[in-house]
Amino acid sequence: MPLLEVEHVTKRYGQGRTAVVAVDDVSFRAEPGRIFGLLGPNGAGKTSTIRMIAYITTPDAGRITLGGRPVGPATQRLMGYLPEERGLYRKLRVGEQLVYLARLKGRSASEAEAAARRWLDRFDALGWWSKRVEELSKGMQQKVQFIATVAHDPALVILDEPFTGLDPLNTDLLREVIAELRAAGRTVLFASHRMEQVEQVCDDLCLIAEGRVVLSGALREVKRRFGRDTVTLAFDGGDGWLDALAAGGAVEVLSRTAGHVTARLADGTPPRRVLEAALAGAREVVHFELHEPPLDEIFRIAVSGDRAAGPSDHRAGGGPGGALPPGQAPRSSGGPIVR
């Protein structure tokens, strides 16, 4: 049973002719023990959607429930929110800050303090307890803010671009902690425009662009729907053979560096044709793989398909222009598609 249900939610800002639809009939569900990715470019409506889930703003239409209850002051205690724009009280000491924020979420003073100490310890940061936030580095502040998001043990953890500004070590640490939250049965809502991060972390996803859902489902299934139509090659020698293929319309090059290329096959191009061209053109082929397109490519296809088809019917067929495979119907099927 999903913990979070977002149903046909619409949010407009402004009024009259200047009104902007930030979120347009968005629906999705997020389940406990899974990491849900809310994806989209900047300005797609991610933060607007999250703010409604956090009951910071309210939708103009539609309904959001958390644990079966419509979101409201009571459900705010069940969720923790790490906003993309980080912020803490700069003059306040770390421990006091964490206790205060957890108490605002309904924890008692003693519970809050115990949880804050436990989490600081998890991040090897117990020594920061009586430091002022302004004395900490940006990365350290980010950890404190993450702890503030989870210290009250929320059922729903909303992380908006949580990895921004973290070094690789801390990125790994945070990824580990997110995995622990999933293992502990929490629902994690992960919002990002960095597709490769989502690909590494998420179980389910929902792609939104210009306020509308363009694609949603379990990550593995979404990728499978697009089929294995992408090849990656590693080779020695020149890559002139690739230009000939691309010029003939047989492939579309997604990425290309010295001795390494990823390309999407056009309709009707058999994978072996690329391999044969490479064998003929390059000195040696050291790696060849046929796989699903990377998520950013899927996103690009989905968004351009959405634009090409128009708002009322944006998932027509799997043709080269329209791109979305058949059966992919995030909007008109009347409900969200999760798996």
Partner: protein, 446 residues
């Protein structure tokens, strides 16, 4: 905690507590609480001290050119003790030269026609000094000339004595608790101080609320808080927390001021009438006690009489009411901007109603029972300052005080509701400078 957590009041209190502690524990708070009374005292005491000192020290050497032939001696006696007449009858040219090169401070020229009123006297110097000096010189000359004219008119010595006798006016304030002698001047001073104190306090703590809101918005913590509490709870928590900071500081200031004034009584007495201290019990020469409107040693008890418990309670009540009325508006303005410098134009419509009553303060003080004064002391934007002023200046009927409080409460409840609508939209609005029209639109659509 017996209170259920979903009770919004407990969140407001939690927020207020955090806001309060964060500020009261800061160094700034300790410093301002300690230094402000010292500063205020310095502002009041230093000019007095300077005036007394310079008055005593600067001895002046003057000359008199007396063409009436009989005023020089009496004038020399009537001048303040710091003046010494060192030459009489020298030629004007040489006196002028001596004034210019500094050997002489000045000289009087008393023309022949002075006594019958056909000519005026003159005092030549390179600068008379303050107003007090001018007044002293004028008084001395007037006394001397008058005495001579009266004598010329044939009046007996007895009349002259009568004219010279002191004719002081004691100002007595009548109230139900008994008459307070010499209280009128002191009580209007108290009215001024209390009125200005409320004005300053509402401004200081109102701006503190605005700064707090801007700070939360600028460092983005507000989004985290808004996912934990309703904007209204956040705003009220902040307003109440900072209100408590204000009360704490006012109590601290009063305690310090009381301590100072207890200590200052003997100090002032020493400063103004040394005889009183050197020989207690000795009766003072007439006129010596006229320099202060009250007996310095009785300062604490005088303050106690002027600051009745009712007045103090009203002070606290009207301070809180005025603070709640204006601070919620300050919160609304703070929510609409991203940095303090942007707040200037939006602040103006709040500043005006805080500042305007101060301009009416003197007229309320002179006519505390006029129709205008009564209206201003009931009108919620001016009552916090002017009702307290009226109460200090006169006996205000209890029903008027209660009515003013009731109107004030109704006004701040309405104002908080209005401000909350702006605040709720404003705290999440970034990147665009809001105008007054925007704020009004938020009020209507929220």
């Amino acid at each position: 905690m017996t209170r259920s957590f979903d009770d919004p009041m407990s969140k407001v209190l939690l927020i207020a507590r955090s806001e309060y502690l964060r500020r009261v524990r800061s160094k700034t708070f300790a410093v301002t609480t300690l230094l402000a009374p010292l500063l205020a005292l310095a502002v009041v005491a230093l000019p007095i001290a300077f005036a007394t000192m310079t008055g005593d020290e600067a001895a002046r050497r003057v000359a008199v050119v007396d063409r009436t032939g009989r005023l020089a001696r009496p004038l020399a006696e009537a001048l303040p003790p710091t003046y010494t007449v060192i030459a009489e009858g020298a030629p004007v040219d040489s006196l002028r030269a001596r004034v210019l090169d500094g050997r002489l401070d000045g000289y009087f020229v008393l023309p022949e026609g002075l006594l019958d009123g056909t000519a005026g006297a003159a005092y030549y110097s390179r600068g008379v000094g303050g107003l007090a000096q001018q007044a002293a010189l004028q008084a001395a000359l007037r006394d001397v000339v008058r005495a001579a004219r009266i004598r010329d008119a044939g009046a007996p010595e007895a009349v002259l004595d009568l004219l010279g006798a002191r004719a002081g006016l004691d100002l007595v304030t009548v109230s139900a608790e008994g008459d307070a002698a010499d209280g009128a001047l002191a009580s209007s001073a108290v009215a001024y101080v209390l009125g200005l104190l409320i004005y300053v306090a509402v401004l200081i703590y109102g701006v503190m609320v605005m700064r707090g809101v801007i700070e939360e918005k600028a460092n983005r913590i507000v989004e985290v808080i808004a996912s934990s509490a309703r904007p209204f709870e956040l705003m009220m928590g902040k307003v109440l927390g900072i209100g408590a900071v204000g009360l704490t500081q006012l109590v601290g200031w009063s305690a310090l001021m009381l301590a100072f004034s207890v200590a200052a009584g003997p100090l002032l007495a020493l400063l103004f009438s040394p005889e009183a201290m050197s020989a207690p019990g000795m009766s003072l020469p007439e006129g010596a006690s006229g320099e202060l409107p009250f007996d310095p040693e009785e300062l604490p008890s005088l303050l106690g009489r002027l600051l009745s418990p009712g007045l103090l309670a009203a002070f606290v009540g009207f301070f809180l009411g005025g603070y709640l009325l204006f601070s919620s508006l300050f919160a609304a303005v703070g929510s609409a901007v991203e940095q303090e410098s942007d707040a200037q134009t939006l602040q103006l419509p709040i500043m005006l109603p805080i500042i305007l009553p101060v301009f009416f303060l003197p007229s309320v003080l002179t006519a505390p029972d006029s129709g205008l004064s009564v209206f201003l002391s009931l009108f919620p934007f001016s009552s916090p300052i002017l009702m307290v002023v009226r109460m200090a200046a006169t006996d205000v009927p209890a029903w008027q005080v209660l009515l003013a409080l009731a109107i004030l409460v109704a006004a701040f409840v309405g104002m908080i509701a209005l401000a909350a609508r702006v605040y709720r939209v404003g705290i999440l609005m970034y990147g665009k400078r809001a105008t007054l029209r925007d704020l009004w639109r938020w009020v209507r659509t929220a």
